[in-house]
C-alpha cells in the first residue's frame, strides 16, 4: 500500500478533470488527479470535436451560447495548438425553415455570438460539396478541437504547477468520517497496489460515471443519465469548415472537419450504462441520411470509424432548484455539504468540452466557498505551453514536419504521417502505455487503414526499444486490433469493406497473428 496526501483529489481525467486539476494547482492547492484508465478516453475521447462558437445555442439556450462564445475565444488564446480555426457555417438545406435564420441572427446579436450572413454563392465557393440547394448561409466562429491535445495540455500545465497525475488508478472507496471527506482509495492497476490519498476535498469529475463515485462515498444516489450519441468519421475532409444545419438543434445536424477526417454527428439516446454504449445500425443510417442532406453523395464517401460517447447529465431532485450559485446553463455543481451533509465533496455534471475551463472555475470556486476563502482563478490568463508553440493547428502540419525529416526518419503510420521518432519519444515517456493510449496522442492507426500497416510496426518497435517484451507487445497488438474493430464493424460498407478484407489478409493471412503463442490472459491495459 502506498500513501499520499493532497489538498484535493480530482476524480476523472476527462476535459473537466483536466481543467479542474490545472485550476486547483494554479490556485496553489496541492492536487492529485486520478483516472481509472488513460486520460481523455471517456466522453472526452468520444465526442464530436467541435469547439462551439455558441451558434448552436443562440435560439435554444442563450446562456450557453454566450458562454461558448467567450470560452471559444479564451481557449483559442490559451491552447492554440489543440485548435484548428476552421470557421463554421450554418446552412438551410431544402426543407429547412428559412425563417429560422432570422431568429438565429437575432439570437446571435443578443448573446454576443459573432455571426454574419453570407451569400449562398460564397458558401458554395468555400465548400463546393455542400448541397447546391441551400437557401441561406451564416458564418460563425466554430472551430475544430482535439480533445486529447486539450487534455494533455491542461494536465501538463497542472503538472508544471506541482499536480500529480495517476492514470489506471480507479477510485475504489472514499472515506468519510465525522461528516468530512478524509481520503480516497484507488487501485494502481499496473502495479496491482492499493493507493490511499489523504485529502480534505474530492472533486468528482467522473462525467457519466459521477454517480458511481458518490456511491463509493456511501451517499444517496446521484442520478446521472447518460445521453448517448454516435459519430461517424469519413476518411477525408469533405468539408474544411464546420457545417451546421440552420435549424433548432437536432440529431445529425453537424459535420466537423477534424484532422484528416470529417465527422458527422450526433444522436441523443438515454442509456443506463456508460460502459456499454452501442452504435445501433438504425442510428448509423440516420447519420448517413443526415450527411446526405448536407453533402449529396455522402453515402458513397468512405466511412472509416464510428464511436459513441455519453453526455454526463445530472438530474437531481435533492438539489434545491434555486441553488444556482455554481450552476450555469447546462452544467451543475452539486455541493454534498448542502445536499448530504458531507463536507469536502463536490460533483460536477453536464457541460461541454468547449466550456471545460469555465466548469473548472465554478467547481474550484465552490471548493473555495466551503473552505471560506477566495483564491482568484487564473486559468484564462495564462497560455498553456505546447511543444508546437502558440500557433493554431493546421491540418498540413505533419506534411511540413515530414518534409523536414524525410531523409533521416521512417514513417510508421502512413495514413497519419506518424514518424518513428514521434512514436519512440512518447513511448519512452509513457512506457506503461497501451498502443491505444499512444494512439490518442499520436493518431497512430486512425486513418483509412485503421492500423492495418502500422499497428504491427508499433508493437515491433516497442520491443526493439526495450520498452516491452515480445509477449506484452503481442498482447498490446491484439488489444489494439480488437479495440479498433469496435468502431469499424458498425460502419463496414463501401471501400472500408475492401480495406478490412486487406487488413485481414495482412494480419491473419500473411502474419498469422491468430496463431502466435497465446497469452494466459489477454492484455487489457
Amino acid at each position: 500500500m502506498r500513501r499520499l496526501a493532497a489538498d484535493v483529489v480530482v476524480v476523472g481525467g476527462g476535459s473537466t478533470g483536466a481543467g479542474v486539476v490545472r485550476d486547483a494547482a494554479m490556485r496553489g492547492y496541492t492536487a492529485v488527479l486520478v483516472d481509472r484508465s488513460d486520460l481523455a478516453q471517456g466522453t472526452t475521447g468520444r465526442f464530436h470535436g467541435l469547439l462551439h462558437s455558441g451558434g448552436r445555442y443562440v435560439v435554444s439556450d442563450p446562456g450557453s451560447a454566450t458562454e461558448c462564445a467567450r470560452e471559444n475565444a479564451v481557449l483559442s488564446r490559451i491552447q492554440a495548438p489543440a485548435i484548428e480555426r476552421t470557421g463554421g457555417l450554418f446552412v438551410s438545406v431544402p426543407g429547412d425553415d428559412p425563417g429560422y435564420g432570422d431568429r438565429f441572427l437575432a439570437g446571435a446579436a443578443a448573446t454576443g455570438v459573432p455571426a454574419r450572413e453570407i451569400p449562398v454563392a460564397e458558401a458554395l465557393r468555400r465548400e463546393p460539396r455542400l448541397n447546391r440547394g441551400i437557401s441561406r448561409a451564416i458564418e460563425v466562429e466554430d472551430a475544430s478541437v482535439d480533445g486529447w491535445q486539450l487534455v494533455w495540455g491542461a494536465v501538463n500545465s497542472a503538472r508544471a504547477y506541482g499536480a500529480k497525475v495517476l492514470t489506471y488508478h480507479p477510485v475504489t472507496r472514499i472515506d468519510i468520517a465525522d461528516g468530512r471527506v478524509r481520503a480516497v482509495h484507488c487501485h494502481d492497476q499496473r502495479r496491482d497496489e492499493e493507493v490511499v490519498i489523504e485529502c480534505a476535498f474530492v472533486l468528482n469529475c467522473a462525467g457519466p460515471w459521477a454517480g458511481r463515485i458518490t456511491d463509493l462515498a456511501g451517499l444517496p444516489p446521484v442520478p446521472v443519465i447518460p445521453g448517448r450519441g454516435i459519430m461517424i468519421a469519413l476518411n477525408h475532409r469533405v468539408v474544411n469548415t464546420v457545417v451546421n444545419r440552420l435549424i433548432y438543434p437536432t440529431d445529425g445536424d453537424i459535420l466537423v472537419p477534424v484532422h484528416t477526417v470529417s465527422v458527422i454527428g450526433t444522436t441523443d439516446v438515454k442509456e443506463s450504462d456508460p460502459d456499454h454504449l452501442p452504435i445501433p445500425a438504425a442510428e448509423v443510417q440516420q447519420m448517413l441520411d443526415a450527411g446526405e442532406r448536407l453533402i449529396p453523395g455522402f453515402r458513397r464517401a468512405r466511412a472509416v470509424h464510428a464511436w459513441a460517447g455519453s453526455r454526463p447529465l445530472i438530474r437531481d431532485d435533492r438539489v434545491a432548484a434555486d441553488d444556482t450559485r455554481h450552476m450555469s446553463r447546462g452544467m451543475a455543481v452539486v455541493d454534498h455539504l448542502t445536499r448530504d451533509g458531507v463536507a469536502g465533496l463536490l460533483t460536477i455534471g453536464g457541460g461541454k468540452l468547449t466550456t471545460y475551463r469555465l466548469m473548472a472555475e465554478h467547481i474550484v470556486d465552490a471548493m473555495g466557498d466551503q473552505r471560506g476563502e477566495r483564491r482568484p482563478c487564473r486559468t484564462a490568463d495564462e497560455e498553456i505551453p505546447y511543444a508546437e508553440g502558440s500557433r493554431h493547428y493546421v491540418v498540413t502540419h505533419r506534411l511540413a514536419d515530414r518534409e523536414a525529416d524525410r531523409l533521416d526518419d521512417q514513417i510508421v503510420c502512413e495514413c497519419e504521417l506518424m514518424s518513428r521518432r514521434m512514436f519512440t519519444d512518447l513511448l519512452h515517456r509513457e512506457p506503461l502505455a497501451t498502443l491505444d493510449d499512444l494512439r490518442r496522442q499520436l493518431r497512430l492507426g486512425m486513418g483509412p487503414c485503421q492500423g492495418g500497416f502500422c499497428a504491427g510496426r508499433a508493437a515491433g518497435i516497442a520491443v526493439t526499444e526495450r520498452v516491452v517484451d515480445a509477449e506484452r507487445a503481442t498482447g498490446l497488438l491484439r488489444l489494439f486490433l480488437k479495440n479498433r474493430w469496435i468502431g469499424l464493424w458498425p460502419i463496414l460498407y463501401g471501400a472500408q469493406v475492401r480495406q478490412t478484407a486487406l487488413d485481414h489478409w495482412l494480419y491473419a493471412g500473411t502474419l498469422d497473428i491468430e496463431h502466435l503463442p497465446t497469452p494466459d490472459q489477454e492484455v487489457v491495459r
Binding site: 445500425a281 443510417q285 448517413l288 453515402r299 458513397r300 466511412a303 524525410r406 531523409l407 533521416d408 526518419d409 521512417q410 514513417i411 510508421v412 518513428r420 500497416f453 504491427g456 510496426r457 508493437a459 515491433g460 518497435i461 520491443v463 526493439t464 517484451d469 515480445a470 509477449e471 507487445a473 503481442t474 497488438l477 486490433l481 480488437k482 474493430w485 469496435i486 464493424w489 463496414l492 460498407y493 463501401g494 471501400a495 469493406v497 475492401r498 478490412t500 478484407a501 486487406l502 485481414h504 489478409w505 495482412l506 491473419a508 493471412g509 500473411t510 502474419l511 498469422d512 497473428i513 491468430e514 496463431h515 502466435l516 503463442p517
Partner: protein, 412 residues
C-alpha cells in the same frame, strides 16, 4: 472474337489463362489491377487450419464440409493443380510437397502453415530443436527482429519440440540517405552483386546464435539471391515475407504473368470490366472501360476470376446490400446485417459470402446455372474466411484449373 475472355489477373485468372492458352485457345485476359498474388506472402497455401493446425493438407481437403469450395474438387484435383503450378514455375520459385505443410515463421514470429514455398524460405521450416538467428535491417520497418525472435522463442514446433531464437540488426542503407525504403526498393539493390556481398558480410558479422539465419523477405526481386547469400553468410538462410509490397509475392506474380504473356495471351491490364451483354442466357460480350470509351469483348466462354471483397468484386453498400459488381451474380447472402459482429477474433460470416457454383464451376441460382458459358474461380467463391484457414491460393489455382478444363472439354 476470341475463344475465351478471362477477367482478373490474380492467381486464379493467370492460372486459367495460362492453362487455356497452353491448350490452344485464343485468350484475352482483362484486369483492372494486379491482384492479390503480388501483395501476398509468396507461398502457395492449400489448407492451413481447420481450425486446428493442418499437417497434411490434402487429407484435410478430403474432409472439408460440403459447402466448401474444395468439396466439389477433391484432394486429387487440388494436388494435381498445385503440382502443375509448382512444376510450371520451376524449383527456382516453388518447392514442396502438396501433401505436407511447411511451418514458416512470419514477420510477427508466428509459425504459418503453407504447402509450397520459395526455396529461399524453406530452411526455416519449424522442427523441434531448431534455432533461428533473426537479423533485422534497420532501414526496413516491417521486420521487427526482436519481436519475431521473442515470439519464436516462446513457440513450440508443430512436432512438439522447442524452438530457440536470437535477434540482431544490421544498419545498411541500400542507397545513401534512404532511411525508409520499401521492401521492393531494398530488394532491387540486393539484385546487385556488389551490394549483396556487402549485405552478406554485414549479416554474417551481426547474426547471433542460430541454425538458420532469418532475414526480411527482400532477397532480390529475381529468384536465386538467397542461395548466394547463404553461401557468403555460411549458414542456411531463410527470408520471411513482409507486408506489401511483398517481394516474394511479386516474384510469383511476375513469373506467372511472364508465362501467360509468352503463351500468347493478349493481356489488357488497367481495364475494368463494367458490365456484359447476353445472348439468351449466354454471356455474349463483356464491357471494358477503356481509354476513349467502353469496348465490348466477345468470346465463346468467359472465366470470371475477380477476387472477393478485397478486390472490390464483392461490395457492400451503405445500406448493407451485398452485390457482385459485374454480372450481378446470386450470392449466398444479400444483406450484410448480422454478418459482422463486435468480436474481432470471432468469425465474420460476411467474408464467407460469395458465389456458389455447379460441379463445373458455373455460378448457380438455387441449382440452376446462371450463364452456361460463364465460369468463376478464386476469391469470388463462397466459403470460409480464406485468411483464417489459409486456403486462398489452393482454391484459386484448383478452381481456375477446373474452369480451364471444363472449357477445354467443351462442357455445356
Amino acid at each position: 472474337m476470341r475463344d475465351v475472355v478471362v477477367i482478373g489477373a490474380g492467381l486464379a485468372g493467370l492460372t486459367a489463362a495460362l492453362r487455356l492458352a497452353r491448350a490452344g485457345r485464343s485468350v484475352t485476359l482483362v484486369a483492372r489491377g494486379v491482384g492479390g498474388l503480388s501483395l501476398a506472402q509468396g507461398t502457395i497455401d492449400i489448407l492451413g487450419y481447420t481450425p486446428e493446425r493442418v499437417l497434411r493438407p490434402l487429407d484435410a481437403v478430403a474432409a472439408v464440409p460440403p459447402e466448401h469450395p474444395y468439396a466439389g474438387l477433391g484432394p486429387d484435383a487440388v494436388a494435381a493443380a498445385v503440382t502443375w503450378l509448382r512444376d510450371e514455375l520451376g524449383s527456382e520459385l516453388l518447392v514442396g510437397d502438396p501433401a505436407v505443410n511447411l511451418h514458416l515463421p512470419t514477420a510477427l514470429g508466428a509459425l504459418r502453415p503453407t504447402a509450397l514455398a520459395q526455396p529461399s524460405m524453406v530452411a526455416a521450416d519449424a522442427r523441434g530443436g531448431l534455432t533461428y538467428a533473426v537479423v533485422g535491417v534497420r532501414q526496413l520497418k516491417d521486420f521487427p527482429a526482436d519481436l519475431v525472435a521473442g515470439n519464436l522463442a516462446r513457440s513450440t514446433a508443430p512436432d512438439g519440440g522447442p524452438l530457440g531464437a536470437t535477434a540482431a540488426w544490421v544498419d545498411l542503407p541500400a542507397r545513401p540517405g534512404e532511411a525508409d525504403p520499401s521492401g521492393l526498393t531494398y530488394a532491387r539493390s540486393l539484385d546487385d552483386a556488389a551490394f549483396a556481398d556487402r549485405f552478406a558480410v554485414a549479416v554474417r558479422d551481426a547474426a547471433g546464435a542460430g541454425d538458420v539465419v532469418l532475414l526480411p523477405g527482400v532477397l532480390g526481386v529475381r529468384p536465386g539471391a538467397g542461395r548466394r547469400l547463404a553461401e557468403l553468410i555460411g549458414r542456411p538462410v531463410a527470408e520471411v515475407p513482409l507486408l506489401p509490397p511483398s517481394v516474394p509475392g511479386l516474384r510469383l506474380a511476375d513469373a506467372l504473368r511472364a508465362r501467360v504473356a509468352a503463351a500468347g495471351v493478349r493481356i489488357l491490364l488497367g481495364s475494368a470490366v463494367t458490365g456484359f451483354t447476353a445472348d439468351g442466357d449466354r454471356v455474349a460480350t463483356v464491357t471494358v472501360a477503356a481509354a476513349g470509351g467502353p469496348r465490348a469483348l466477345a468470346a465463346s466462354d468467359f472465366v470470371y476470376a475477380p477476387g472477393g471483397f478485397e478486390s472490390g468484386a464483392l461490395a457492400v453498400d451503405s445500406r448493407g446490400a451485398i452485390a457482385e459488381t459485374v454480372f450481378g451474380l446470386p450470392l449466398t447472402a444479400a444483406d450484410a446485417a448480422g454478418l459482422v459482429g463486435p468480436r474481432y477474433w470471432a468469425p465474420h460470416p460476411l467474408f464467407e459470402v460469395g458465389v456458389r457454383t455447379d460441379a463445373a464451376g458455373r455460378p448457380v441460382a438455387g441449382d440452376k446455372v446462371v450463364h452456361p458459358n460463364l465460369y468463376v474461380a478464386g476469391g469470388i467463391l463462397a466459403g470460409p474466411e480464406p485468411w483464417r484457414e489459409k486456403s486462398g491460393d489452393g482454391i484459386a489455382v484448383a478452381t481456375a484449373v477446373r474452369a480451364a478444363a471444363m472449357i477445354e472439354g467443351g462442357a455445356r
